[in-house]
């Protein structure tokens, strides 16, 4: 009865050959990948350079002001700037800046690529049919699987971390941009067309502004996804808070892990509330002038 429960045949994948091929590919186009690598490293470095020139009190002041304006309560301003002080008090200020640089670099690239793709697949059923399965794959493929080729092509370091972050975090902004534009009231689109809008006018004067709340949710989600990659990325050589967590895990230092982990959470909360508060404020002010 074995034949009923054992799958009848097996294909022997020559994994060695595949690995060889990938390595060979990486080696023969190394100048290309090195170019990308140095561009990404420089991008992260530039952001980090900016952060390193912002004095600690100025950053706290910015967070205070933005969250106060976003939530229109001085209480939230105080709360979120105190949270930021906690990170500083833990002695993680420099590491936080490193982490922020990689996350922001990843998010900026994800938005630059993701927003146009979202717009494209909102307007074309063909493009949608091609892109959708790719998005599904990007979302469900275990992160570690593409960490390996990333390291092969771009080596250990922030460049690989940025690429992994981009792949992982780009999906929500694409999906929600497309969804937002598709959900714009058909009569509004018709009205815009009836007044002789060109394709570009329709997109930038009507569809994108009307879809903005949904697009903003996508951007917020992309930011959160990027934050969730912080620890994973430290495995391929990204420095920063994630690396602290990784070291703590390796050495089983509970308190060190906890402190660094809390800093990641705090950073995520601040980024989330700042972006979210800002968008919902925009929506509210729409109905305010009654």
């Amino acid at each position: 009865m074995d034949w009923l429960f054992n799958f009848p045949f097996e294909v022997n994948l020559d994994t060695d050959a595949i690995d060889q091929a990938v390595r060979g590919f990486a080696a023969s186009y190394s100048s290309f990948f090195d170019g990308i690598k140095s561009a990404l490293t420089n991008f992260v470095g530039a952001i980090n350079w900016v952060f390193s020139y912002i004095p600690w009190f100025a950053l706290i002041g910015i967070v205070f002001f933005l969250s106060w304006k976003a939530h229109r309560r001085i209480r939230s301003g105080i709360f979120y700037s105190l949270l930021l002080c906690v990170i500083g008090a833990f002695g993680l200020w420099g590491l936080m800046n490193l982490t922020l640089s990689i996350v922001l670099a990843g998010v900026i690239i994800a938005l630059v690529i993701g927003l146009p793709i979202g717009v494209l697949i909102s307007g074309s059923e063909h493009a949608n049919r091609i892109v959708r399965p790719i998005l599904d794959m990007m979302q469900t493929m275990p992160v570690f699987v593409y960490l390996i080729p990333a390291v092969i092509f771009f080596g250990m370091g922030s460049a690989s971390a940025v690429i992994a972050t981009v792949i992982y975090s780009m999906v929500p902004v694409i999906r929600l941009t497309s969804l937002g534009i598709r959900q714009v009231n058909a009569e509004v689109v018709e009205a815009a067309c009836s007044f002789g809008s060109t394709r570009a006018q329709l997109l930038f004067k009507v569809q994108v502004p009307q879809a903005l709340p949904t697009i903003m949710t996508g951007i917020n989600q992309t930011l959160m996804m990027a934050m969730s990659m912080v620890v994973t990325c430290s495995m391929i050589g990204a420095r920063g808070l994630g690396n602290e967590v990784l070291i703590a895990v390796n050495r089983i230092e509970i308190s060190r892990g906890f402190v660094a982990g809390s800093a990641v959470v705090i950073l995520a909360i601040i980024l989330d509330r700042l972006t979210q508060g800002w968008f919902s404020k925009k929506e509210e002010s729409g109905g305010e002038e009654n």
Binding site: T198, K205, G287
Partner: protein, 391 residues
């Protein structure tokens, strides 16, 4: 410039793959359902031939699914007809290039939508100025022109308001102002008042007629409400299953419906608002001159079996009414018609709507006289004629 602004020739719009087969079936008189069953083709419009006169309110009416919205969207090519042609001032819309079509939409025809189609991310001014903005009009000029349109529809002071803060009626005013801001030749209105409550709808209808008089635009108005159609329309076109049933003036249509469908459709209409007194007036059977003798007047009434007679002066000018009682008294006392004439009688102009003479007719003991501008008697309206016109 001819009097016809839009002309359609054999306009058809079919959805589906086997359209040639469907056209053949339709040309042999098959109906929409039969065509759909046999070929899977949906007939939205078939063989529409219309002439829309310049400066009119042209109403297209039909039940939902009759193709009226599809038709109006053909006039600015939001829908592309499958076959046939649409001539706008003699230019075929179907042969326009992309650029020409944009220019056409920007300057010639503007549309007003059932659920307004307003952009919630812009305030009233931003919405009204949109059409000018896409034409590339400078900010200053478009805001000036948008403000003019806003004041035309009576929304001054609201230009900075958000769309969410407006009521339905006000939102549609914004929609109307947006369409007017571009100063188009034709306004296409797709059931613009259907989403409004009855009182607001009434106001808007009135204001639309007022605006039309002021601006003298051609308006193509879609509705499913026969009363609205008859109230607004100079000409009304009834559609059914993608075909035209009848195109006529409201009065002609209610007096001579082309077929049973039209008859049932307009049965719901209040005809007293369509018919004017000249549609129901009679020629007075007996009439005497001011200079006639009393005996002649009495004899006239006797022969015609009536108890009062209208008295005219020179060239049919109405002088008054003479009742039999007064005539007999005059005969006994040897007076002339002029002495016993009842001069202050109620008269109505020819174009008065029947609905407006209802209260007068209800209280009248004698027929109402219909006169033209010079005061000449054109006919009389009896109580019976008024009341029977309501049926």
């Amino acid at each position: 410039m001819s009097d016809i602004i839009i002309e359609t020739r054999n306009l058809s719009k079919l959805y589906g793959l086997r359209r040639d087969e469907a056209v053949e079936m339709l040309s042999k008189g098959a109906d929409k359902d039969g065509v759909l069953r046999k070929t899977g083709v949906t007939t939205a419009l078939y063989d529409i031939n219309l002439n829309i006169p310049r400066g009119e309110i042209f109403v297209i009416i039909g039940l939902s699914g009759s193709g009226k919205s599809t038709l109006v969207r053909c006039f600015n090519r939001l829908n592309r007809p499958s076959s046939g042609s649409i001539l706008f001032d003699g230019v075929d819309l179907m042969k326009m290039s992309k650029h020409e079509l944009l220019e056409f939409r920007r300057h010639k025809a503007a549309m007003v939508f059932q659920s307004f189609g307003l952009m919630s991310h812009r305030n009233v001014l931003g919405n009204v100025a949109y059409g000018l903005e896409v034409c590339g009009v400078s900010r200053e000029e478009r805001e000036t022109r948008a403000m003019e349109a806003i004041s035309l529809v009576g929304l001054e002071g609201w230009e900075k308001a958000t769309i969410e803060s407006l009521s339905g009626g006000m939102r549609q005013r914004v929609g109307l102002a947006r369409a007017l801001a571009n100063d188009p030749e034709v306004l296409l209105m797709d059931e613009p008042f259907s989403a409004l409550d009855p009182l607001v709808r009434n106001d808007m209808q009135f204001e639309l007629m007022d605006l039309q008089k002021k601006l003298n635009k051609t308006i193509i108005f879609i509705t499913h409400d026969i009363n609205e159609a008859f109230k607004l329309g100079d000409t009304v076109a009834i559609m059914r299953d993608g075909r035209l049933e009848q195109v006529d003036t409201p009065a002609a249509m209610s007096q001579h419906p082309a077929n049973d469908y039209v008859r049932t459709f307009i049965d719901g209409a209040d005809k007293t608002r369509v018919l004017s007194v000249c549609d129901i007036m009679l020629k007075p059977a007996c009439l005497v001159r001011l200079t006639d003798s009393i005996t002649h007047a009495i004899r006239e009434m006797q022969t015609n079996g009536v108890s009062s007679v209208y008295v005219r002066g020179q060239s049919m000018r109405l002088k008054g009414i003479l009742t039999i009682d007064e005539a007999v008294r005059a005969h006994r006392e040897d007076l002339s018609i002029a002495d016993v004439l009842q001069a202050d009688i109620s008269t109505v102009p020819e174009d008065t709507l029947v609905s407006d003479v209802l209260p007068l007719a209800a209280g009248a003991r004698v027929p109402i006289a219909v006169v033209d501008e010079s005061g000449a008697l054109k006919g009389i309206v009896t109580k019976a004629a008024v009341l029977s016109s309501m049926l």
